[in-house]
């Protein structure tokens, strides 16, 4: 577990929580990650052992990446 992964979990959960108003929240989160996250941040989160801490929308978005 790293400082980054903790932050990444918090960030993606927060992005998901704030995308609930969008038509398709999962798609909105995916778009956000593509626009603002480095590929490594995405892969780090995917490969971390913290994915169980993601909320539903965040988890779906990460899976859809």
């Amino acid at each position: 577990m790293s400082s980054s992964s903790d932050s990444l979990v918090r960030m993606i959960n927060q992005i998901a929580a704030n995308s609930m108003g969008a038509h398709d929240p999962v798609a909105a989160v995916v778009k956000h990650l593509h626009s603002f996250w480095t590929p490594k941040m995405c892969s780090d989160l995917k490969s971390s052992n913290l994915t169980s801490e993601l909320n539903a929308v965040a988890a779906q978005a990460l899976a859809a990446l």
Partner: protein, 940 residues
């Protein structure tokens, strides 16, 4: 290269569609109805003698020098207070007038010290000029009668002196303080012969005076005089430039004697400030020559070693070698850079270019990350461009002003003066702020509503305002239909109508009474022109971006976009935060807010720069710091920013910096961050820079050097040479060439060049073929993105909540005399107004904890603790405390957390759960500031 004298036409310009014709001294002329005879004459080139009139102030008619004769009218009216009438025949010079003026002048001089040759204003005194103009040759009245020659001088203000003996009681200073600044700190004391100027029966320093200097500028004599003029003498040449403090971006005349700066005088033709200034811009420039300033490059192997002063060549080679070593060892992505909103567009552009082209990654971010990144995000989503919609002058047409999370009288004083002028004319003000800022109630200003919300509940409030408009039939249907996306509107409309957004529901969340919310919403929605102005109290929250979109929704829903007097307007914190964002400082965007994944744009830059560029976004500052702690990010170039003091959770920042193998800091001073640096490049002050700043109204202003760089190199030269040393060729002959490259590559800047700016003064982008002189008001006929897009903005409470352990909410801000981390203002006489950080606390909270006014208290949050001096005040409600962050010793950011805006990671500075307990030790004794440590090492 001579001293610039801007013409003074005596009375302000009048706008009118009707013109009147008249004849002055035999010359026919036409002027807008309402123009004074004095101004009409001045426009013809005839200067009517005057003392109490100046064109920044309304006519007063007290000096009796500007008398004229008008055919068919009795007497000799004052030309300043007499409006032109059709068919008037005016004579400004007749034997009768000459005699009267000489008589009036004789009375003035009969009570004035005759020390012109040794007077500081000798050569720059209107009284002296007028004595010459009226041909005064003799004063028949001696000085033996009652006079004011022995009146005392008030030297209490560090920047100007008030020598009462030289005062002619023209009231220009009093009127400047009232009309221009809006502080009303001066008055005429007594009456008749005893009349004198007084800052309210006390000295200047103890008075309401905010030291903006408007009175000094207005004074026609040496009564109110800059101390630098008294010490140095009258300046002999002018360089027009731009202030380097806040995002207002005031234009100044730097007045010099040789290369020595004598004074800064605001430029009347300056688009942002129109001849006004604040204490920082006008007076607080002494830091540029402060002995703490570093002028030579330095390097060291380890941060525990002493600094070693080296040549530029050695420093640049050393830095490049270390960066290359880090990349060789840890990979291409292991380094990055931070650009500075304090630097010019040209400097910022080359820094981001160096990162993208020479570092070969997109790990470039800027200090806008920690202030207005949500503005960029939110306005781009809704309107299509990452900038405010208006010019500053627009506020003069607003009928209702909604001010959210901004404290303009402290942080954007020159704009605050404009706003106050409009409020005195009758515009209504709604303040949304947890703290009672001055504008809630100050002389002649009273907010209609103060929505004193709990920190962190902005989105709930803006939703409630929009809810009222939507459910009470106050929407601008026509605007919505013609200017916005239908589907997005329908989604938003369904959302905003929900009961959870009603004022009654929001009252429970925010603490703001529902009735007050409803009244404020109706006021905003029903006015002709309603304008939103906001600051970091909007952006520095976990829902900063949501809030920006919420405000954009409200403006669109009520049709308040696309003309003067309305709009959504960020008050930007730093002089060039708009520019730094425009120049491609964000890791996901090239200049002009174009995503790095956009192939067309990227190929254009690849061709222009002759190198391959990456298509994926790079790391933001907090991600850089996180991965530094993880050991993956190892090198950083920090341009003019002090992240160890300004960024949240200082402990985390310092740990990250300490984990890096190559930290390069380019700054004026050995700041807190420099304590962790291996290479220090001395930077240039704004007085040495040649370039442009872009202010909060998108205005691109020229910054011109008054002297060559004291360090021997322009900052863009350092960056270019470092790039070169890294193996990427970067060569410019001047900063003008950098702007040319910006213009070539960035559509919104296509029409910008130094030559164009030198010709027209300033332009507001977009400036291109369609808008050659810029765009004061945006989105007039359509949004940049075509149709405006409503965004659904649900309120999501921050995770940072008060609890039993940390029951108070801390919010932060700044004050008038200090600027941000104080690196500049702490090195000026401004410390006289604010010698240390203060923590504001409500009496009931203080009593509960046994904390008394003026004592020290330990401030703790879940990430850290520090000690601050407490001031007890009812400005903050119970449960909320407020502090400034201008001094490294108090370290307010030691306690702020790393929670941030969901979309942009802008830190949540405005909400930290804290607790306070009495402390006996002042902060200095607890830990030595890193900067002091750094200095010590140099001296060893």
């Amino acid at each position: 290269m001579t001293l610039l004298h801007e013409p003074d036409l005596g009375t302000p310009a009048v706008k009118s569609d009707i013109e009147v014709e008249l004849v002055i001294d035999g010359m026919p002329t036409r002027v807008p109805a309402g123009t004074s005879v004095m101004r009409a004459a001045a426009l013809l080139g005839t200067a009517v003698p005057k003392l109490c009139a100046t064109d920044s102030l309304e006519a007063f008619g007290s000096c009796r020098l500007c008398l004229v004769e008008i055919d068919g009218k009795k007497g000799t009216p004052a030309s300043c207070t007499t409006p032109c009438e059709p068919g008037m025949v005016v004579h400004t010079q007749t034997p009768k007038l000459e005699k009267m003026r000489r008589g009036v002048m004789e009375l003035y001089i009969s009570d004035h010290p005759l020390d012109c040759l040794t007077c500081p204003a000798n050569g720059d005194c209107e009284l002296q000029d007028m004595a010459g103009v009226v041909g005064l040759r003799d004063v028949r009245y001696g000085l033996e009668g009652a006079n004011h020659l022995d009146a005392p001088t008030d030297d209490s203000n560090p920047y100007f002196s008030f020598d009462e003996s030289k005062c002619i009681a023209c009231s220009r200073c009093v009127r400047a303080c009232d009309e221009v600044q809006g502080t009303f700190a001066l008055t005429i004391e007594g009456r008749g012969f005893d009349s004198k100027i007084s800052p309210g029966g006390t000295d200047f320093m103890s008075s309401d005076c905010v030291s903006c200097g408007a009175c000094v500028q207005a004074c026609p004599t040496s009564t109110l005089q800059e101390k630098t003029v008294i010490q140095i003498g009258i300046p002999t040449r002018t360089v027009e430039t731009t202030c380097a403090y806040c995002g207002v971006g005031c234009s100044f005349k730097a007045e010099l004697k040789g290369n020595e700066l004598v004074r800064m005088v605001p430029l009347k033709s300056g688009g942002a400030n129109e001849g006004h200034s604040c204490v920082k811009g006008r007076f607080a420039w002494g830091y540029a020559s402060h002995p703490d300033r570093q002028l030579e490059p330095m390097v060291r192997e380890s941060i525990t070693d002493p600094w070693r002063k080296v040549s530029w060549n050695e420093a640049i080679t050393y830095a490049a070698t270390r960066l290359k070593d880090v990349q060789a060892k840890y990979g291409q992505q292991s380094i990055g850079g931070i650009s500075s909103s304090r630097c010019t567009n040209e400097e910022v552009f080359v820094v981001q270019k160096m990162v993208r082209a020479a570092f070969g990654n997109n790990n470039i971010d800027t200090c806008a990350r920690v202030c207005h990144s949500p503005t960029g995000y939110g306005l781009k989503q809704t309107f299509g461009t990452s900038a405010g919609t208006q010019n500053f002058a627009s506020v003069a047409k607003a009928d209702v002003i909604l001010l959210i999370g901004a404290n303009p009288t402290d942080a954007h004083p020159v704009f605050a003066s404009r706003m106050k002028r409009r409020l005195r004319q009758g515009a209504k003000l709604i303040v949304v702020d947890p703290r009672r800022i001055d504008l809630v109630r100050t002389a002649h200003i009273k907010a209609e509503h103060h929505l004193q919300l709990l920190p962190g509940t902005n989105v709930a409030i803006v939703n409630a305002l929009a809810h009222v408009a939507a459910t009470e039939g106050l929407l601008d249907e026509e605007f919505i239909q013609t200017r916005t996306e239908e589907k997005a509107f329908r989604d938003w409309f369904e959302f905003i109508k929900k009961p959870e957004n009603s004022p009654e529901s929001v009252e429970a969340i925010s603490g703001v009474p529902a009735s007050e919310l409803r009244a404020a919403a109706r006021l905003f929605a029903t006015a002709n022109n309603s304008a939103i102005y906001y600051g970091l109290g909007v952006t520095e929250h976990s829902q900063g971006s949501t809030m920006v979109m919420g405000m954009a929704n409200l403006a669109m829903a009520t049709g308040n976009i696309g003309r003067e007097g309305v709009g959504v307007n960020p008050l930007r914190g730093q002089n060039n935060v708009q520019g730094a964002c425009d120049m491609g400082s964000f890791p996901h965007e090239f200049s002009g807010y174009r995503h790095v994944s956009d192939d067309t744009v990227r190929h254009q830059f690849e061709e222009l720069w002759g190198t391959a560029l990456q298509a994926e976004p790079g790391l933001r500052i907090p991600n850089m710091l996180d991965s530094a702690i993880d050991g993956e990010f190892k090198g950083i170039f920090i341009h003019g920013e002090d992240i160890a003091q300004s960024d949240p959770n200082t402990k985390h920042v310092k740990a990250a910096l300490g984990a890096m193998e190559c930290v390069i800091v380019q700054d004026l001073f050995l700041n807190e961050t420099a304590a962790f640096a291996h290479v220090f490049f001395p930077g240039t002050s704004f007085l040495e820079k040649d370039g442009t700043f872009t202010n909060a109204e998108r205005r691109i202003n020229r910054v011109r050097p008054i002297q060559p760089p004291k360090t021997g190199k322009h900052e863009w030269e350092i960056v270019a040479e470092l790039s070169q040393a890294l193996g990427y060729p970067m060569q410019y002959g001047s900063s003008a060439e950098i702007m040319d490259e910006i213009a070539t590559s960035t559509p919104t800047f296509a029409g910008v060049s130094f030559a164009h700016l030198d010709k027209v003064g300033s332009v507001q982008w977009p400036c291109n073929e369609e808008n050659p002189v810029g765009t004061p008001t945006m989105h007039v006929d359509g949004f940049v993105r075509g149709l405006g897009q409503f965004m659904v903005t649900p309120y999501v409470a921050t995770e940072e909540k008060s609890n039993r352990k940390f029951p108070l909410l801390l919010t932060t801000g700044r004050i008038l005399s200090q600027y941000n981390v104080g690196a500049q203002t702490r090195r000026t006489e401004n410390v006289n107004w604010y010698p240390e950080d203060l923590l504001e606390m409500h009496e009931s909270d203080a009593e509960l904890r046994g904390i008394v006014d003026g004592s020290f208290a330990t401030l703790s949050s879940r990430v850290g603790e520090t000690v601050m001096k407490v001031t007890i005040t009812d400005r903050v409600p119970p449960g909320v405390v407020y502090s400034t962050f201008h001094y490294p010793t108090s370290g307010a950011n030691v306690v702020t957390t790393d929670y941030s805006d969901w979309a942009t990671n802008c830190p949540e500075y405005k909400v930290t759960a804290v607790e306070l307990r009495p402390s006996i030790k002042p902060p200095q004794e607890i830990g030595m500031a890193a900067a002091d440590l750094g200095l010590e090492l140099v001296n060893e």
